[in-house]
């Protein structure tokens, strides 16, 4: 039985894991870098160990150092959170070797999930639909053109060594394909010294819908429903919700059965996520497995009534799942907004620095997972995610309205945040109607709408702002003229 968990992470997710451990009476070990000496997870854990400099490579990614702490602190398990070492199969293997329970899938399963080609092959074998394309690498441009003509244009040429927009071309005919093939090859060689290209059907106006997988060590598999995460910027999720507006009970069951097959195909254990693209025609295509607890897991907790970290620990302890698929019922609607420290108008550039004051929203069915506290600092060394604001309601609209109220209540002083953008999105007709797609921000001109909304908000606050300014300037004047710092005194002198 797990009695002491080291959390190989920081920020809100470290706090999230610590909370459940405390509730279960499990001891916690925090690790921290120079930059995190004053962070909440250090203060909340049973024990805290310094592991190095601010740069992730010298602290949160330093496997040997973290192993040292696991052994010296007597931790019998490690929770990797998300990011950092969470999907590093070498680290999972290192834990396995040292008889420390890695709370997540086995190193072998993680390795398989992380290899896009191998994973796709395993899915095809299990009859899990994937995006149509070449079964493996294409030999040359001729080979690519043959695949493209079979599946139909437009297609994507993708270097398997690419990522972040590099080594990808969308082509619409044979000529573009031949030119594109050369470009992708040379880009890939320039970047990593080698090239390996696959061809995939290019899908327009897609939704990102993912399923929560859950599988124990006894072969029991269930899915814990879907999440729609279509609202994104630069391929990173901003707002998630469950259920998806385009998944009804029948569809949920149909795709859910596929998800269970996918988990079995890679012998997945513990919690994970199967990501799908949903084409505009309603077809679902598997893209990849995220072999970890997702950022957006709280909304699934809200509609399932389960504590996912507890579930992870129980599974890691070898316990069988306490429920069958038919026992699980989805209840209500949940939304998550990722409160990022970034400037929407500077192309989402990060905004970091001291945060002198913070207001965290609360109330029934409002949950805010965050590392923020008044006087903390948003570090430039780590992710821009400061808080996850989640709301629940028995109807979608109640959940949405509750989120708008919570966004209005939330205040983070000192850094730019994505809060204003979310208010614009949640107020838009497209969002209310569930007209979601991964290009939502561009497709519906959300940044322009935000500019208008901000202007309107300032118009609405004009009288109040002026009242505050009038009082302040009178106060200021009296201070200067009377050399007095006493505001009560000032008030008496006003007439």
């Amino acid at each position: 039985m797990i009695e002491k968990v080291l959390i190989a992470n920081r920020g809100e997710i470290a706090l999230r894991v610590i909370r459940t451990c405390k509730a279960l009476g499990i001891k916690t070990v925090a690790v921290y870098s120079d930059e995190d000496t004053n962070s909440m997870h250090v203060k909340q854990a049973t024990e805290a160990y310094h592991i190095g400099e601010a740069a992730p490579a010298k602290s949160y990614l330093n496997q040997e150092k973290i192993l040292d702490v696991m052994l010296s602190s007597g931790a019998d398990a490690v929770h990797p959170g998300y990011g950092f070492l969470s999907e590093n199969d070498d680290f999972a293997r290192l834990c396995e070797k040292n008889k420390i329970t890695f709370i997540g899938p086995s190193a072998d399963s993680m390795n398989l999930c992380g290899d896009k080609m191998e994973c796709k092959a395993a899915m095809l074998k299990a009859e899990v639909p994937t995006v149509p394309g070449s079964p493996g690498l294409v030999k040359d441009a001729e080979d690519a053109a043959k695949v493209a003509n079979d599946i139909g244009y437009p297609v994507m040429l993708k270097s398997v060594y690419g990522g972040g927009g590099r080594g990808i071309r969308i082509v619409t005919n044979d000529k573009e394909l031949h030119d594109g093939f050369e470009t992708v090859t040379s880009e890939s060689i320039a970047a990593v010294g080698k090239s390996a290209i696959i061809v995939e059907k290019f899908l327009e106006k897609t939704r990102h819908i993912e399923y929560q997988m859950c599988r124990d060590h006894h072969g029991n598999s269930v899915h814990l429903f879907e999440r729609e995460c279509s609202i994104q910027r630069r391929n990173q999720k901003l707002i998630e919700q469950t259920p998806s507006p385009v998944v009804d009970d029948a569809k949920r069951e149909e795709i859910g059965e596929i998800v269970v097959r996918a988990a079995e195909a890679v012998d997945y254990t513990n919690l994970g996520t199967a990501e799908f693209l949903r084409a505009d025609n309603g077809e679902f295509y598997f893209i990849e497995i995220n072999a970890r607890l997702q950022v957006e897991h709280p909304i699934s907790e809200m509609v399932s009534g389960l504590d996912f970290v507890k579930l992870q620990i129980d599974i890691a302890n070898g316990e069988p799942l306490p429920f069958k698929q038919k026992d699980l019922k989805m209840n209500g609607y949940a939304i998550e907004c990722r409160i990022n420290a970034e400037d929407t108008f500077l192309d989402f550039a990060p905004s970091t620095g001291p945060v002198p004051d913070v207001t965290i929203p609360s109330g029934p069915n409002v949950r805010c997972d965050t590392y923020l506290y008044p006087g903390c600092t948003v570090s430039p060394f780590y992710d821009s995610l400061m808080a996850k604001l989640c709301t629940w309601g028995p109807t979608f609209d109640e959940s949405r309205t509750r989120m708008l109220t919570a966004l209005n209540d939330m205040y983070v002083e000192g850094v730019e945040t994505s809060i204003p953008l979310y208010k614009t999105i949640l107020n838009s007709e497209e969002y209310k109607k569930g007209e979601l797609s991964t290009d939502f921000l561009k497709r519906y001109g959300m940044i322009d709408k935000l500019t208008e909304d901000l202007k309107q908000e300032k118009e609405n606050k004009t009288d109040a702002a002026l009242a505050a300014a009038i009082i302040h300037s009178e106060y200021f004047k009296s201070q200067v003229q009377n050399n007095s710092n006493n505001s009560a005194n000032w008030k008496n002198k006003l007439d």
Binding site: D343, L346, D347, A349, P350, S351, T352, G353, D357, T359, P380, F381, S384, N408, D409, M410, Y411, E413, L454, K455, E457, K458, E459, K461, T462, D463, A464, A465, L466, A467, A468, A469, I470, I471, H472, S473, E474, Y475, F476, K477, V480, Q481, S487, K491, L494, D495
Partner: protein
């Protein structure tokens, strides 16, 4: 009577306190409209008040003699003040380098200076790139906020700047 200008909505207002009713109640006038105002609490950092039966909370962030940076009910706003008290303030504060606030080009984000695109004495137009910063692996251009001539370049290549640090002056 003080004149207030709100930059973001490009509107000007006249405003003053016209009566102190006692018990922290006041009548203020904004343009031609009178409003009832009750101060709940205030100090140099902020104020809580009820204006026409609605609660508001304001924080005073940075302030100079002619510009106020406030957050009203979580909404940040910049208000310019045109008042004859300006001169009084200058005198009382021992004067200051005149008009510095308008000349200085400040960084809107913290980061490392990757490159500086101008030299002392260069003429720049509003929107020209003055330097490039890197923050969390992203490069962001800092652009001239007005036409003018570059003076006193404060930023150094390879050095870090904080939000609000002066990059250079543009005169």
């Amino acid at each position: 009577m003080t004149n207030f200008k709100i930059q973001e909505i490009e509107k000007s207002f006249d405003g003053k306190i016209i009566e102190n009713l006692g018990d922290n109640d006041y009548i203020i006038k904004i343009n031609d409209n009178e409003h009832k105002l009750k101060i709940i609490s205030m100090n140099s950092r902020g104020i809580e008040f009820i204006l026409n039966q609605q609660y508001h909370k304001a924080k005073y962030l940075e302030q100079s003699t002619n510009e106020m940076n406030i957050v009203i009910d979580n909404v940040p706003m910049i208000i310019n003040l045109h008042t004859h008290y300006d001169k009084v303030v200058y005198k009382n504060s021992g004067g200051s380098s005149s008009g510095g606030a308008q000349i200085a080009l400040k960084s809107q984000i913290p980061g490392k200076v990757v490159s500086i695109s101008v030299e002392h004495g260069d003429s720049v137009k509003k929107g020209d790139v003055v330097c490039t910063l890197e923050s969390m692996k992203m490069q962001v251009a800092v652009k001239a906020h007005k036409d003018g001539v570059i003076r006193n370049i404060k930023a150094k290549e390879g050095a870090s700047v904080a939000k609000g640090d002066i990059i250079s002056d543009i005169e």
